[in-house]
């Protein structure tokens, strides 16, 4: 084949045009490409929240005096705790926690006011630990509120001194002063969606061609295998970039997530990230005979990739073995970059390592996929 001597950009462009025309003729695919990411971003943006507020609180007040009312008031003032019921019988609290109607129980003992005046009072907090995350956070909030109340409540007559706390923690949260979990999660969704779209659709598109038997038609054209791979993958890279713009705009304009860093660097990192994503898609397409099989294989790749990316569960909380394994996960590196750019506003000096990983993984995945592709065709 004399026509197949060198890599020809013109032939790739021709194939790209054919692919795009084919994609946009399918109304169903259109939906998957542009509507699904928007819907998913909205769903994730709202559902995936780890903020703990308005925790349902049940109060057992054995004292019923002014001091005990001040404790309850202080606890509910910030909006962190809502009182859902009161009683004077301890057994009621057990029932409420068992039924899950309350998550926190506050028990104020009898003669609380008198004890407090004497300088030695205590209250009890009971927390439903079923949701460990909510429990940890709520416990910290309640202890913080109650201990600063303890300082404020000291009657000066007893101690003879105006009491100051011996030591105080001043906290400042950088990058996300309100500690809104949405600002952390929404940029993460951008990464997950791109990964999903690029990998799954590339895999499906190639396998469909094989299913329909049109892959043979392509093989008899003068296209080189490498050109064929590029022509198959490029349209989805373009679509991925359009999705990036769409989803980023939505994140910033709709969810109000700050984009502190450089959008240009975000674009550059995304191009790097598309390489391993498309590579994985192609790799899956070389191992699957039917679209159904490709779908399953993509799914089996996606689940661990998302779980081990730091998207919802921090990489730092993984055991060392999995922390090391997650280095092979392109999504992990991309999320580090995306969050760094969105929230921290950092650039290449801090993120070069993650970029390098993406490039290396991209070259590796695309390389292996192209080699396997060539063998199957040849």
């Amino acid at each position: 084949m004399s026509a197949a001597l060198g890599f020809s950009p013109a032939r790739v462009a021709e194939m790209l045009r054919k692919e795009l025309r084919q994609i946009f003729r399918d109304p169903q695919l259109y939906r998957i490409l542009f509507i699904a990411p928007v819907v998913q971003l909205l769903m994730f943006g709202y559902a995936v929240s780890t903020d703990v507020r308005h925790t349902r609180t049940f109060v057992i007040d054995h004292a019923g005096d002014a001091a005990s009312r001040r404790v309850v008031e202080a606890l509910t003032a910030g909006g962190f705790f809502d009182v859902v019921g009161r009683s004077t019988r301890d057994a009621d609290l057990v029932t409420e926690l068992d039924h899950g109607r309350a998550v926190v129980g506050l028990v104020i003992p009898p003669r609380f006011g008198a004890d407090l005046a004497a300088g030695d009072a205590s209250v009890q907090l009971l927390v439903d630990g079923t949701n460990s995350n909510v429990a940890t956070v709520a416990l910290g909030q309640a202890e913080g509120i109650l201990s600063s109340l303890g300082v404020a409540l000291v009657p000066p007559t007893i101690s003879g001194e105006t009491l100051v706390p011996p030591i105080e923690l001043r906290d400042r949260a950088w990058y996300n002063p309100d500690l809104a979990s949405r600002d952390y999660n929404v940029p993460g969704v951008v990464g997950v969606l791109l990964f999903l779209v690029c990998m799954l659709l590339t895999a499906l598109a190639v396998v469909r061609e094989r299913e329909l038997g049109t892959l043979e038609q392509l093989m008899v054209t003068p296209l080189l295998p490498l050109e064929l791979v590029a022509g198959k993958a490029l349209p989805f890279a373009l679509i991925g970039l359009v999705d990036l713009v769409l989803v980023t705009l939505l994140a910033v304009l709709w969810f109000g997530v700050p984009l502190v860093g450089s959008p240009l660097l975000l674009l550059f990192a995304t191009v790097l990230f598309l390489l391993p994503s498309l590579g994985l898609g192609l790799l899956i397409s070389t191992t699957s005979k039917t679209q159904q099989e490709a779908f399953m294989a993509s799914y089996l790749t996606l689940v661990p990739a998302i779980l081990l990316s730091g998207f919802m569960f921090p990489v730092a909380s993984m055991p060392p073995l999995f922390r090391t394994l997650s280095l092979l996960n392109p999504l992990r590196h991309y999320l580090e970059i995306v969050r760094g750019i969105f929230l921290k506003g950092v650039g290449l000096p801090e993120l070069w390592r993650a970029h390098l990983w993406l490039l290396a993984l991209g070259v590796a995945f695309v390389g292996v996929a192209a080699a396997r592709f060539q063998k199957r065709i040849g």
């Binding site: 709202y46 559902a47 929240s49 780890t50 703990v52 308005h54 068992d98 039924h99 899950g100 300088g119 009072a121 009890q124 907090l125 009971l126 927390v127 630990g129 079923t130 949701n131 416990l139 910290g140 909030q141 309640a142 202890e143 913080g144 201990s147 303890g150 300082v151 409540l153 000291v154 011996p166 030591i167 105080e168 923690l169 001043r170 906290d171 400042r172 949260a173 950088w174 990058y175 996300n176 500690l179 979990s181 600002d183 952390y184 679209q291 159904q292 399953m296 689940v303 779980l307 081990l308 919802m312 569960f313 921090p314 730092a316 909380s317 993984m318 055991p319 580090e336 921290k344 950092v346």
Partner: protein, 371 residues
């Protein structure tokens, strides 16, 4: 309804299933993978917090406070910094997730009875981790402050807080995840696997053969359901056993109650799977529809990982339509709280309704006739 015909359909389905590699992967490999990932690899427990120290005071007192941090077991020192720029840089490079800053004069203030301050600069980008880091820091600083007062001969602070955690005493996220995983794995089996059954017949053209036999609609649907119910129950038993034996998740309630309620949930969810399958003639489409209408919502909106109480009101309203929400209350109630039917009867009733509705919908929508 003829039981012999029903079992014949079941037997045929089992034969087909055994030959279908990807169904077997979904039925047994995926649950195993999820269990290993959730059990071993990922958690929300915040430990070994990478901490940078900016100790401008550098006195025995400041070091004693830092020692209290290290002794807690939550914080690991990874760097020392000595100015604000360096503190910012370690956060920027994500080398540390918190910087503890002890200003000059810390020990002097502590001795003179003025309030000494400690600053915690925390990387807030991961809001959840940051909130927990701050909660731990506050508790350690308070404890240290109380000790200093006692050692100085002053009366202790007037209000003590005694905290106790119930049901999951050590606050391990694994104890929350594994019972939830039972529900998620059931959704995979029930919705994704069963969504393939009828569309497989259409795709292979065997629906015509089925139509020419005397089996009724209900017999086909129920016969096809049976093998998946069996697989689902095996998966529930295996997941629970691995969770309890390998991952030390407590099991405080009744095994029988878990089995009965799991069966109800499985019945309803498989009914939905068949319902989806009856409407789509391609397996690919059926899996995708099943994933969007039942699997993803069960994962995101059931309270499996994200507390329903933290969601905005419209979304919270939608969660009432998701059966996995109720089943999750059941699994966590039985595993962790050890509660019985007297607490779970509301959920049990809703799941029974769901089971009847799921199977009825499947039978009604499935039409054997070839147009």
């Amino acid at each position: 309804m003829n039981l012999r015909r029903l079992f014949a359909v079941s037997r045929k389905e089992v034969l087909q299933l055994r030959r279908d590699r990807r169904s077997m992967v979904l039925a047994f490999l995926l649950p195993l993978l999820l269990l290993l990932l959730f059990g071993y690899a990922i958690s929300w427990d915040v430990r070994e917090i990478a901490t940078a120290v900016w100790d401008a005071d550098n006195t025995p007192q400041s070091r004693a406070l830092l020692d209290a941090f290290w002794a807690s077991g939550y914080f690991d020192e990874v760097a020392r910094v000595d100015d604000a720029a360096a503190a910012g840089a370690v956060l920027d490079r994500s080398e540390a997730s918190v910087v503890l800053a002890l200003p000059r004069g810390f020990a002097r203030n502590l001795a003179s009875g003025e309030t000494a301050t400690v600053q915690a600069l925390v990387d807030g980008s991961d809001a959840n981790t940051a909130t927990i880091v701050l909660a731990y820091s506050r508790a350690i600083v308070l404890g240290y402050g109380a000790r200093v007062r006692l050692e100085g001969g002053k009366p202790p602070l007037p209000l003590h807080v005694q905290s106790r955690v119930w049901y999951n005493e050590e606050l391990r996220s694994r104890n929350m995840i594994v019972p939830g995983l039972v529900a998620v794995i059931m959704m995979i089996i029930a919705a994704m696997l069963t969504s393939l059954t009828l569309s497989r017949e259409w795709e292979r053209g065997t629906m015509e053969q089925l139509a020419s036999t005397p089996v009724t609609r209900a017999e086909v649907v129920l016969g096809k359901l049976l093998p998946y119910l069996a697989i689902g129950m095996i998966d529930v038993a295996a997941t629970s056993a691995v969770g309890v034996l390998l991952f030390d998740v407590p099991f405080r309630g009744s095994v029988l109650l878990l089995a009965v309620l799991s069966f109800l949930f499985l019945l309803g969810a498989s009914g939905i799977g068949i319902f989806v399958s009856a409407g789509s003639k391609s397996q690919l489409l059926a899996t995708q529809v099943a994933m969007i209408v039942s699997y993803l919502p069960s994962l995101l909106l059931s309270g499996f990982m994200f507390a329903i109480s933290s969601m905005p009101a419209p979304l919270r309203a939608i969660t009432y339509l998701i059966p996995a929400r109720y089943f999750l209350v059941v699994t966590r109630g039985i595993f962790l709280k050890g509660v019985g039917i007297e607490v779970l009867r509301g959920e049990a009733l809703l799941m029974a309704i769901f089971a009847v509705a799921g199977v009825t919908l499947a039978v009604v929508r499935f039409k054997k006739e070839i147009e």
